[in-house]
Symmetry: C2
Subunit: 335 residues, 2 copies
């Protein structure tokens, strides 16, 4: 295990260790009344919310909504009020739109939960319920673990879906499993990086519980961190416009999970392989999760994709000699 993976495992262990705290928080919130949930964030911290939002669409009677924080702040949602719960995240804890969203929520009497990297941050101070991941690496996956704890506990308390304990047990196995997945993805990641290092345009495809990863890999990794054009395309939308740009030069990164969206991804692959060889398919089925039974694997789609894509990102950055931390504007100029 490399040092990097040690830190990663540490971050995930810390997240699974928050189970009692997330649980107590949800019990308190439900006692006060939760009528709806708003997932609010920006960029990668919005993308990480998508799986939780999709799970609630499928399993919960509580309406839930997902919004970019900047838009949330301007929209004045009719159903947002004192019995709403805002769940948000910001690694730096300083994203202005996110802090503003929390302050708007609090001014309306809504409950707030925030995930952030460090205890000393504006987001930590702003939210009622803060969860700190203290992660040097793996902040996103750590947040996703805590998000799942919260959402499954919430659905249990609301009598929507009673498998919180099962899911919590599965989550506890992730620190080891996901390190194993990162290790086993290294070869595919290196091949990807060598093959695609000179390409300038990518299309990432996902749907359902893989959508957040397709979105984040395009806009956060390839665009923000590699300065490459990368369009995230919803697999269900592919055949209604975007597929017309695909020819033998198109580079497609296709994320195939084990949730309800799998048939949509199959359809994208079946079509695309006829017209381009430049397909990179990440199928979560190729990666074992010993602690997760078949019935629940679908929910763990984003964890596997995130672990694998982290290796893809790192190998590509190495091969291109463009460190993932390089920025032109973010944190450097006014915007």
């Amino acid at each position: 295990m490399t040092d990097n993976f040690k830190d990663y495992r540490e971050a995930l262990l810390n997240a699974v260790g928050q189970g009692d705290k997330t649980s107590a928080t949800v019990e308190k919130l439900v006692q006060n009344g939760v009528e709806n949930v708003f997932f609010v964030g920006c960029g990668g911290s919005l993308a990480v919310m998508y799986p939780a939002w999709y799970i609630m669409q499928e399993l919960s009677d509580i309406p839930s909504f997902i919004f970019n924080a900047g838009e949330f702040n301007k929209l004045t949602h009719k159903k947002f009020g004192k019995n709403s719960l805002v769940i948000t995240a910001s690694y730096s804890g300083t994203t202005p739109e996110t802090i503003e969203a929390v302050n708007i929520a609090k001014s309306k009497g809504a409950a707030t939960i925030g995930f952030t990297g460090k205890m000393e941050s504006p987001l930590s101070k702003a939210v009622d319920n803060v969860f700190v991941n203290n992660a040097k690496v793996g902040a996103t996956d750590a947040n996703l673990i805590m998000l799942y704890q919260i959402v499954f506990k919430l659905m249990k308390e609301m009598k929507d879906y009673d498998r919180y304990e099962d899911i919590a047990k599965c989550l506890n196995t992730l620190p080891d499993s996901l390190v194993g997945i990162k290790e086993s993805a290294e070869e595919a990641a290196k091949k990807f990086a060598e093959t695609y290092k000179n390409e300038k345009i990518f299309y990432t495809l996902g749907a359902g519980l893989g959508w957040g990863e397709a979105y984040a890999f395009a806009i956060c990794i390839l665009e923000e961190m590699q300065w490459l054009t990368a369009q995230p395309i919803h697999a269900g939308e592919y055949f209604h416009g975007p597929f017309e740009v695909v020819d033998e030069n198109a580079n497609l990164i296709i994320l195939k999970g084990e949730d309800f969206s799998r048939p949509l991804i199959d359809r994208v692959i079946d079509f695309s392989k006829k017209y381009t060889d430049r397909l990179v398919i990440i199928d979560t089925k190729q990666y074992p999760l010993p602690g997760v039974s078949e019935a629940y694997r679908g929910y763990f789609t984003p964890f596997i994709l995130s672990a694998v894509l982290d290796r893809f990102a790192n190998c590509l950055a190495d091969e291109r000699n463009h460190p993932l931390s390089t920025r032109r504007y973010m944190g450097k100029v006014e915007y």
Copy 2:
């Protein structure tokens, strides 16, 4: 007025003429009970739903959701049931995912409304309540008029928002106003086409009531109809990834409406103009709508954008010698 605009005006007049029918349909549906609304479609027929969905987020106590039809069919949404209303569209009336969505909805006892181009189509036969636009051109704008009739009437009947009559009066003025806007946008459209005819990558930016247009112009016009790479970027997300790809060669098409999202667009423009001159800004404020009072102009954002972008699309297609009707795959091969 060119012949093309005559057909367009005809299509819109037909749509405003549906007011009594949309109104009666909504009254009947509300009597039967409407607990939530699902906007469901694919590509351009999904994009046209976004403004109606945003308006309901802002004004209605009824939860509403928007889904790609393929995803809707696989998701099994927990809140979907016999008191749900599905609103969908398909110009051809043959989109398989959309027909399937309607059949799923009906099997669960939900109400269905469908917009389509011709009376004789599978969608017409499948839905309980069909609205035919009979449009040779302007089908999207015609659908949007009927969507607004339905959504504002629904909100009136549900005691959410009482301005249905005002909005209906505004809608009635669109056939003339939008033809005027198309005529006055011609010069800007020609300039756009001449300047950008050789470009291969575009980014379209929008938010709120302009989001659907930003999305559709990218995936339906530039990708589907012109085979150019075009990434739709939500203005609120721009600063959390995508803006790092912007340098002096980046081509940005920025849609600035008059709804709640306007400040988000201003922020995108203020930043981007420092780093590239290749900005195309379509500001709805530049286009008069004599029949629409200042208080309601925000809601009419997508109509103005659609009218202007239609000219942009046509001029670009002419300049590039690539007719908007050219397809590689759609309707030509199996998928």
